[in-house]
């Protein structure tokens, strides 16, 4: 009887190429090889219980990734060759990319470093392989984002020095400190923070509705890198869920530790995503879905299903989720009005939303927009029309933990500023919320070291004490090009000339 050369099935193939490539150490102690595996208090009794739902082997990984890259770069080429930037909905949109390139792409690189590091720290082979693949993915995300946006950098301001800005500019300390907090934690906390809380629970809000919005605004390059990166994310998310289930199943003592991490990282991620709320509602000229709607689908609905599933392990939904759910009606408006006031110190422009946009917001935020936020824009528009475009010259009070200015309001009291403070070893610290204050109390040794941009300016560590010097010399923001109001900016004028229109002020001169 002829024996047909039997093809290995997925499970066997994965087993041979992953687990069987690992070995038990014989002349070194396991604790010496993996010294960081225990100090967080997580108890792992049997690494062989680790499940990898995707069972991707290295050969298949390269094959699929190569295919993704080929598709992606074909589109980048087409976009650049056809001057795709001329076909976007409006140049205001590009400001979202400026925030993305300085705020998000460096996090992809930080994720690469983080996964490369923890990929060395687990004694389980399955976890190591998953982390190593993810490290390569994240490096790819950082690189493809920079490649995609290099085309915009040729035509618009504010995109010229993203990595440098990420390490220095005041609002970019929000994303930077988020990832530094995660990367300076132990390996299990890192995975709970990034793989689970961030990637599984929260990043959909950035990479799904925002990228869909990019497509709706004619940005073929961004939607393509966004979705190409996101195709890796399905694997990352699965890793995130697997990690949590694995840790929880290993030992009941792990449950309270993981719960504390989930509470912490849900809140840290939520604060970070407040930047995305403003990108969605204000920086996409053609609107797809409001932040509140996206939050309902991707957190309340999908997150709800997830936390219901985790109930059986004794895990409850994140401690501060009620505050986050309530904030969906306010978040984007509070952020945008703040950035509007501080545009002198950002690498992107801000503006007053147009009339149709404000009407859209009234419709999407029926309880809050007309009551609390529209009047502010009407006032600011009047000031601008009278030649007094408002810039706030007082540097903001930053939260010691999330590093966002203390701009949020109390839950259920939208005109009451949310602020907490406490004295720790003789120093007074300020917080944006009860949640951030609690996080500080849990780990004061960590958060007293926060590099707070405003404090640093006042301490004289940023090349000067006045905003102009800091912005120009320390941030590398080109004054009069990258910053200030959008209307009348070089980007705006450039856009009008692309569209064959003259800037309003010039046509006035001609008349």
């Amino acid at each position: 009887m002829a024996v047909k050369n039997k093809k290995l099935n997925l499970k066997d193939k994965y087993q041979y190429l992953t687990r069987d490539m690992a070995w038990e150490p014989s002349y070194q102690k396991k604790e010496d090889i993996f010294p960081d595996e225990q100090f967080e208090g997580i108890k792992i009794t049997d690494w062989s219980q680790w499940e990898d739902p995707f069972r991707l082997t290295m050969d298949a990984y390269w094959k699929y990734q190569a295919e993704k890259e080929k598709k992606l770069y074909a589109i980048f080429d087409a976009f650049a060759q056809n001057n795709g930037h001329q076909n976007i909905s409006d140049a205001r949109y590009v400001n979202a990319l400026k925030l993305f390139l300085t705020g998000v792409s460096p996090l992809e690189h930080a994720a690469y470093q983080g996964y490369a590091k923890v990929g060395r720290q687990f004694s389980g082979a399955g976890a190591r392989v998953a982390c190593q693949m993810q490290a390569i993915d994240e490096l790819r995300h950082s690189q493809t984002q920079q490649h995609a946006m290099s085309h915009y950098n040729k035509h618009f301001n504010g995109l010229h020095d993203a990595a440098y800005m990420h390490d220095r500019v005041w609002f970019l300390s929000v994303p930077k400190s988020f990832f530094d907090d995660a990367r300076s934690a132990g390996p299990f906390e890192f995975l709970t923070a990034i793989s689970f809380s961030f990637e599984y629970v929260l990043t959909n809000l950035l990479f799904v509705p925002f990228m869909s919005g990019a497509a709706y605004n004619g940005d073929m390059a961004t939607v393509t890198f966004g979705f190409s990166a996101q195709s890796d994310e399905a694997r990352h998310m699965t890793l995130g869920l697997e990690v949590i289930k694995f840790i929880l199943e290993q030992h009941e003592d792990n449950v309270p530790i993981v719960q504390r991490w989930i509470d912490k990282w849900f809140w840290r991620g939520f604060r970070l995503l407040s930047l995305v709320s403003m990108m969605m509602d204000y920086m996409l000229p053609n609107k797809v879905m409001s932040w509140a709607e996206a939050w309902e689908v991707y957190y309340e609905q999908n997150g709800g299903a997830l936390f219901k599933d985790l109930e059986r392990y004794g895990i409850r939904p994140p401690k501060y989720q009620d505050v986050a759910n309530d904030a969906k009606h306010h978040l984007s408006h509070q952020l945008w009005t703040t950035f509007y006031q501080y545009s002198q110190a950002t690498n992107f422009h801000t503006w007053i939303p147009e009339k149709e946009e404000m009407d859209w917001m009234s419709e999407k935020y029926p309880e809050t927009f007309d009551k609390y936020y529209r009047p502010r824009y009407e006032y600011l528009a009047k000031e601008a029309a009278a030649g007094r475009r408002f810039y706030n010259n007082t540097l903001p009070q930053l939260c010691q933990v999330c590093q966002v200015p203390t701009l949020f309001t109390e839950m259920g009291a939208p005109t009451k500023l949310s602020h907490r403070q406490l004295v720790h070893e003789g120093e007074r610290y300020h917080f944006c919320s009860e949640a951030c204050c609690d996080l500080f109390k849990d780990e004061p040794e960590k958060y007293v070291q926060a590099w707070l941009p405003v404090h640093q300016i006042y301490q004289g560590n940023c090349e000067g004490a006045d905003v102009e010097t800091v912005v120009q010399k320390y941030y590398h923001i080109n004054i009069g090009e990258d910053n200030f109001e959008y209307v009348g900016s070089p980007d705006h004028k450039h856009w009008l000339s692309i569209k064959g229109q003259k800037p309003a002020d010039q046509s006035k001169d001609a008349a």
């Binding site: 997925l10 499970k11 739902p53 993704k68 799904v208 509705p209 999908n302």
Partner: protein, 89 residues
């Protein structure tokens, strides 16, 4: 409380067949079209079968090929040579 699983993929040529296959095997699933993407959600469980996909495509199809077009998922994953399942148990 309802407990939805979901999958989202790029709205491209491959997706057409994927949607057809999913609709055939999950008649209860809800298909949502959004700019550049398609999102499909279902109560508790959603399955993609290799056999159905191969029928739609008229060629061999490896379950892992979906990794190229998928954007996001929600639910526990169970993947083998014949199917890709998302579920909340």
């Amino acid at each position: 409380m309802s407990q939805l699983v979901f999958i989202a993929f790029q709205d491209n040529d491959n997706a057409r067949y994927m949607v057809e296959a999913i609709q055939e095997d999950n008649p209860e699933a809800e298909v949502q079209h959004q700019p550049a993407m398609i999102r499909i959600q279902a109560e508790k469980r959603l399955v993609i079968n290799r056999e159905t996909m191969e029928e739609k495509l008229g060629r061999d199809w490896d379950v892992q090929e979906m990794l190229i077009d998928v954007i996001s998922i929600g639910g526990n994953v169970d993947e083998d040579d014949d199917h890709f399942i998302l579920e909340w148990k």
